[in-house]
Symmetry: D2
Subunit: 149 residues, 4 copies
C-alpha cells in the first residue's frame, strides 16, 4: 500500500508557499479528507460563479474536479507542484442548486508517468452529506508526473 | 446552411444583459469571429491565472474552451442562456507560455437536443496568428439545448 | 425508484430476436446481474481478441463497456434497440492478463434524452470476483434515447 | 520535422508478422495515406458489424478510430507493437449509412511518453471522398509509448 507523502495540512502549507493565489481552495475548511487512494473537498458556492438561471458554471465544477484531483496527486507525490493535468473528461448531469459542492476523488491508477482518478461532484446543503446516487457531475482526470514539454 | 441567430455584437450585448459578470469574456476585444460553423476568441493571459512554473492553469483553458463553444451556441440558437454544457473532454498538450490564448471552435453537429463542437487552443504572442499544428489544448464539448433537469 | 422494463432474460430474448449476431454477448452466461441502477457482465477472453504481447485489445474492452451499458439501457427502456451511444470516454489503466473480463455499469443519470453511465472493467480468473480497487479500464458512456439523425 | 520510421507498406508488413489476425485491417487496400503528422484508412462496411436499424455499431467505429491511430503511431515509432491506447474519447454524431468508412488521424502531440491524435470518421459511397463538415464520429486517442504496467 502506498503511504501519503503529504497529509492534508502538508498540502495546504505547500500550496500556501508555492501558489498563494490558490490557498483559499486548499485549506483546513475545504479539505475534508485525504488518503492514499482518495480525497474529498467541500466548496461554498459563491454567487460570483453562478450562470444565468442560478446554476453553478461548468468551469467552476471543472476547477473543483481538477482541484480535488491535484490534492490527491500532491498527497501521493509530495511537493510536486509541476505535475500537470494531461487529460480530463467531465459529464455534467444535473443542475447544482444548493449551498455547497462536495467533490470526491478516487485513485484509479498510480503509474510511473500518469496518475488517473475518478471524481464525482455533489450539491449539498450546508454541512450535509451527499447522496452517492445523484452526482451533479462525474469526471475522469489524468495527471502527468513529468512536465508537459 | 444554417444562418446565425446572433452575430458577435449580438452575443456580447446579450451576455452583458443576462450575465454581466461574464461580459469581459464576451466583448469586441475577445470575440474575433463567429460564423454558423465556427467561432474564435482571444484572451490576454492574466498573471492571476498562472500556476506555479508560470503556466496557465487547466481550469483557465477549460473556461476558454467552454466560452468559445458557448459563443458558437449563442450564435446558432440566439438568446438561449439556459443551454448548458453536458459533456467536455480536453487534452492538455503543451505548456502555454505566451501572452495570449486563441481558441477556435468548429461545429461537429447541430442536433435537435445536442450541439457538439471541437475546440483547439493555441498560445501566441500579442496579436499573432496561431500555428495550427501546435495547439496547447484540444477539446470536444457538447451543449444540451434543453435544461439539465 | 425506476422499475426495470426488461429483466436479464428479457434482454437476452430481445437481443436474440432483433440482433442475432450479438446474442452470444447477451446470454444467461454473460449477464450476471441487472437492476434499475446497475448491470454486470462477464466475458471469457478469446485468443482471437489478443494483441501482440498477449493483452486484450482496446476495442474489445470498448465493446464490453458498450455492451454492459446497452444492457442497462435495455433494462431501463425496454425494447429500445435503436437507442445509440452518443459519447464514450475510456481510460485503459492496466494490462488485462487473466481468463475473464468483468464489467460493471452504474447509472449516473436517466434523463429524458440522455442516459449516462460509468463502467469499470476488471480482469479475473475463471469465475472469480474482481478487486474493485484495480480496474483494467474505466469508462463513461452516454446513450441517446432518440435516434441520432 | 519528424521523419516516418515506417511507411504504409512497412506497417502492413510489420502487422502481418506480429499480429496476423489484424492484417486485413492494415493492408494496401485499407491504408490510404501515412505521413509524419497524419494517417488515413478506408474500411468496407460488412453486414456483420451492423446493429439493428442498419447502422454501423459504435465498437466498430471505435475499432477504426483506434486502428488509424495505431497506424500513425507505428509510422512514427516504427516496430512498436507494444505501444498501447491509454485513453480514448469518441462522439458519435450521425448514423453511418453508406458503403464505406473513411478515418483520418491528425497528430496533436508526439511526446516522450504519450502520443495524442484527433480522428474524424466519415461515411462515403464506394471510393468517394468524405465531406469534411459532416463526420459520423470524432475522437481523441492517446497512445502510451511504454507498456501499461
Amino acid at each position: 500500500m502506498t503511504a501519503l507523502a503529504l497529509d492534508a495540512a502538508g498540502v495546504a502549507a505547500y500550496i500556501a508557499e508555492v501558489w498563494p493565489g490558490a490557498s483559499d481552495r486548499y485549506s483546513a475548511e475545504t479539505i475534508e479528507s485525504l488518503t492514499a487512494t482518495s480525497a474529498r473537498m467541500r466548496w461554498r458556492v459563491d454567487e460570483s460563479v453562478l450562470r444565468p438561471g442560478g446554476t453553478v458554471s461548468g468551469p467552476t465544477m471543472f476547477q473543483l474536479a481538477d482541484s480535488v484531483a491535484y490534492l490527491l496527486v500532491l498527497g501521493l507525490l509530495g511537493r510536486a507542484a509541476l505535475a500537470v493535468t494531461s487529460h480530463a473528461s467531465i459529464d455534467f448531469l444535473r443542475r447544482p442548486s444548493s449551498a455547497e459542492l462536495v467533490a470526491e476523488a478516487r485513485l484509479l491508477k498510480l503509474g510511473r508517468t500518469q496518475i488517473v482518478m475518478a471524481v464525482d461532484i455533489f450539491t449539498v446543503d450546508l454541512g450535509a452529506e451527499p447522496d452517492p446516487a445523484r452526482p451533479v457531475a462525474s469526471a475522469s482526470l489524468t495527471y502527468s508526473r513529468a512536465l508537459v514539454t
